[in-house]
């Protein structure tokens, strides 16, 4: 059997170091990968995901005092997406916390497993907690897209269909975790390296019949432009405040003390000076807008472009901006951005920017490969209309 490295090399993948791991940055071209993400699914080596195992009698109390989210809300085989903040209430990293039998598994793209384990250990003070970095022994494969549920069903059985968002189940050789940030059906397979290599090698050619594409981490660029989420690389230099970022849903204010809680409450009481808001160019087509450029309303500078790019789904330049709080509302027209000689007219927008195709696919009714079923709601409605006409 080939190793992960041999598989990536055979595909001509451009590799990168992320989170201390060498993983594919680019396998297919971005447009192809993005189309597959939005219409079929992508298969990605997600081995950069740090995996830390936290167990012991005091694991719940210790973790609950560490993360900002509501750990009490989850039971076995459930998970939350939350933050670890610093004492100033700033985001250090976002992570999934999975409740798995007698332990918690912590998954993050923002910090290596060794660093996360070390950070957690430094916060311990006599509790009965065992912290083990599993990142070197485990790998993760991501299936994401409107029909990723169907390949997961084919690989792991019918139970996949009933797996709710943010829950996981044991599968042969590992754990299948339904979680994602880009608005599509999304599954993480956490398993040993050999099992990950077997999934990525696809010796049976299963993926081709779904129109699936092998992708590298660069698929996240467009995915996160259209479906924004916490992204340290793109957002971290502009703000790490959950209130400014409109990510307070990852914080549970009414639980007991957690790191950064007091500072965050103080910030909330004072009110944020700026907030992150989506924007869309008023005219179709690409623009030269860049992160860091000013945004104006009339003669006043009211904010800064944070993320920006062209969305083929929207056929316009879209992005996120930090705007002064008085202006930070969706669906407001009249903003200008960029240099005076190449000004772009913008309107603010609710996020996400796209109506994800996965909303049109129901695993109980549709199928990409079963000719006896419609592929999605649109096909289903069209068939009804044709039947009514005839």
């Amino acid at each position: 059997m080939k190793t992960l490295e041999e598989i990536h090399a055979a595909r001509g993948a451009q590799m990168t170091v992320r989170n201390g791991k060498v993983v594919p940055l680019s396998v297919s071209d971005r447009a192809t990968a993005h189309e597959a993400l939005r219409r079929n699914f992508v298969v990605v080596d997600y081995s950069h995901l740090a995996i830390v195992d936290v167990s012991g009698d005091d694991a719940f109390d210790f973790l609950s005092a560490t993360v900002s989210g509501d750990l009490a809300a989850i039971r076995d085989e459930q998970a939350i997406n939350t933050f670890i903040l610093d004492d100033a209430g700033q985001v250090v990293l976002d992570l999934y916390v999975m409740c798995d039998d007698e332990r918690y598994l912590l998954l993050t793209e923002c910090m290596s497993g060794a660093d996360l384990a070390g950070r957690l250990a430094s916060r311990m003070s006599g509790q009965s907690v065992e912290i083990v970095d599993r990142s070197d022994e485990l790998s993760t494969v991501l299936f994401e897209g409107p029909y990723s549920w169907e390949i997961a069903k084919e690989l792991f059985g019918m139970d996949v269909i009933g797996l709710p968002f943010m829950e996981h189940m044991p599968v042969s050789g590992g754990i299948l975790f339904r979680a994602g940030n880009h608005g599509e059906f999304s599954y993480l397979v956490i398993c040993g390296k050999d099992a990950a290599a077997a999934l990525l090698e696809d010796t049976a050619g299963l993926y081709a019949k779904y129109g699936a594409v092998f992708a590298g981490l660069d698929f996240q660029d467009l995915a996160r432009l259209e479906n924004p989420c916490w992204d340290e690389i793109r957002l971290g230099v502009y703000s790490r405040c959950p209130i400014e970022l409109q990510l307070q849903w990852m914080v549970r204010y009414d639980k007991d003390e957690f790191i950064g809680k007091a500072a965050l409450e103080d910030k909330l009481a004072a009110g944020p000076r700026r907030r992150m808001v989506g924007f869309v160019a008023d005219l179709e087509g690409e623009t030269n807008l860049q992160p860091g450029q000013p945004i104006r309303m009339g003669d006043a500078q009211v904010g800064t472009v944070v993320t920006v790019g062209y969305s083929s789904e929207r056929k316009r330049t879209i992005g996120q901006a930090l705007l002064a709080t008085d202006y930070a509302y969706a669906d407001i027209a009249g903003f200008k951005a960029g240099p005076p000689d190449a000004e772009v007219s913008l309107s603010t927008s609710a996020i996400p920017f796209v109506r994800n195709f996965s909303f049109l696919v129901n695993p109980l009714e549709h199928s990409y490969v079963n000719a006896g079923r419609h592929k999605n709601v649109l096909e289903q409605l069209e068939a009804v209309q044709v039947a009514q006409r005839t």
């Binding site: 809300a73 307070q248 849903w249 914080v251 309303m297 969706a330 609710a350």
Partner: protein, 107 residues
């Protein structure tokens, strides 16, 4: 242009407060309005609403905003607080039936 933007902002702020306080009261959410961001998802990891809560949101639209969603096929207006407010504002500024299937801000 700026005058129009100021008017639109005030209108939206008012609708956001009404929606957030309506959600808090009707669904017994623990948060106060300042702790619910405009882009907070209603379902999944966001406010963690379920299908029963969705029914209550529909009742709120009817009772508080006078909007009936009977016949609205596309439920994506319930994606987050902002999309719900955009839906409400589009229906309170225009009563044309065609607007029933639109969802400003999410395409």
């Amino acid at each position: 242009m700026i005058e129009k933007a100021v008017q639109d902002i005030e209108r939206r702020k008012e609708a956001l407060i009404r929606v957030k306080t309506g959600l808090i009261d009707r669904l017994n959410l623990y948060q106060n309005a300042d702790q619910i961001d405009d882009d907070t998802p209603l379902f999944g990891s966001g406010l963690r609403l379920d299908s029963v809560d969705a029914t209550e949101v529909i009742v709120m639209l009817d009772e508080v905003f006078g909007i009936s969603v009977a016949g609205v096929v596309d439920a994506s207006y319930m994606r987050n607080v902002n999309s719900l407010v955009s839906f409400i504002l589009s229906h309170t500024e225009s009563s044309t039936p065609a607007s029933n299937n639109s969802e400003p801000g999410v395409h």
